[in-house]
Symmetry: C2
């Protein structure tokens, strides 16, 4: 998606530790026009899959997931983060880990809104090591919903998340795939 | 906004402690069609105000703010929550408090994205005691941006947030104003 790559090159800031900040249009300030374009692109990619629901995780996945959900005319479901494991029987719960915050957390999804009749597209803003996506896949497994694929805005292909998903046979569509950010130079695949 | 009130009556769940759960269409699962209608309604209310940016706070404000921002064709800026006070000079930081989680937290907004030239509409999903909105107003004060008003999806009018804002002369537009939830019966004003 050229308009997205162009924007990353113009406004993305590479920080130490392979961190890419896209705060000006995606993760803090949100360009709602670009968001619409992103929604259209994911629709083009997955439109024949009979998707019934979009699954994401708070916070920065929500804006993208809503842009996709509105075009598919389906609801968005976002996993809620918590510090303690939810043990009640009404909730799917999976552990995850934030490399940014260096702490474990739990993702929770109510069983009311996800079940075997659902056909799910996972949407998230970033894919790096894939830890968050792993937890969402775990939740889908628990729910026995059907997974159609994973849609990512920016994949850091030099980290292992994408490779792992593709090897597992998951359909992964990333709108911008970055193969290197060495010396602050962003290079797409 | 009748369609919203109807939905609250049908799907809202009143819990102890004056908590209204709207997890099925707003705070966990999101009805993207309703979100579009909400965006249109806020546009109708504020369209003549020359708004340059929508301000909200993560997480559940983001979906609504994006629905509004896309119709106004302006960016959305969401305050990020953190546990420690941010002292760097590049960030507006205000303390807030979550009654749900019973803990203090800080809201952070980068100075890069908010300044004296901005005309701001604050958008959030709920208004109860108004603690979160107070912090957003504090951030706008710091930035010297112009505040046009506050748009809320569901106001719990029996709590003090709305009264406080109206008394302070802030233009507050709430799409559904609940005056009572006693015995689980939701009554609108």
């Amino acid at each position: 998606m050229d308009i997205l790559k162009q924007r990353i090159l113009e406004d993305g800031i590479v920080l130490d530790g392979n961190i890419l900040k896209v705060d000006s249009f995606l993760n803090h300030q949100i360009d709602t026009h670009l968001l619409d374009d992103i929604g259209e692109e994911f629709y083009r990619l997955f439109k024949d899959e009979h998707i019934t629901k979009i699954l994401t995780v708070e916070s920065s996945g929500i804006s993208v997931a809503c842009a996709v959900g509105r075009i598919f005319k389906v609801p968005v479901l976002f996993a809620k983060k918590g510090n303690v494991k939810t043990l009640d029987e009404a909730t799917y719960c999976e552990q995850s880990y934030s490399f940014t915050k260096k702490e474990s957390y739990y993702m929770n999804v109510s069983k009311k809104y996800l079940g075997p009749k659902d056909t799910i597209l996972i949407i998230d803003d970033f894919l790096a090591n894939g830890i968050a996506i792993d937890a969402l896949l775990g939740i889908i497994d628990q729910s026995q919903a059907k997974l159609v694929g994973v849609g990512i805005v920016i994949e850091k292909e030099f980290q292992k998340g994408g490779k792992k998903l593709r090897q597992a046979g998951v359909r992964l569509e990333s709108l911008a795939r970055i193969i290197s950010m060495e010396n602050g130079n962003i290079i797409f695949s």
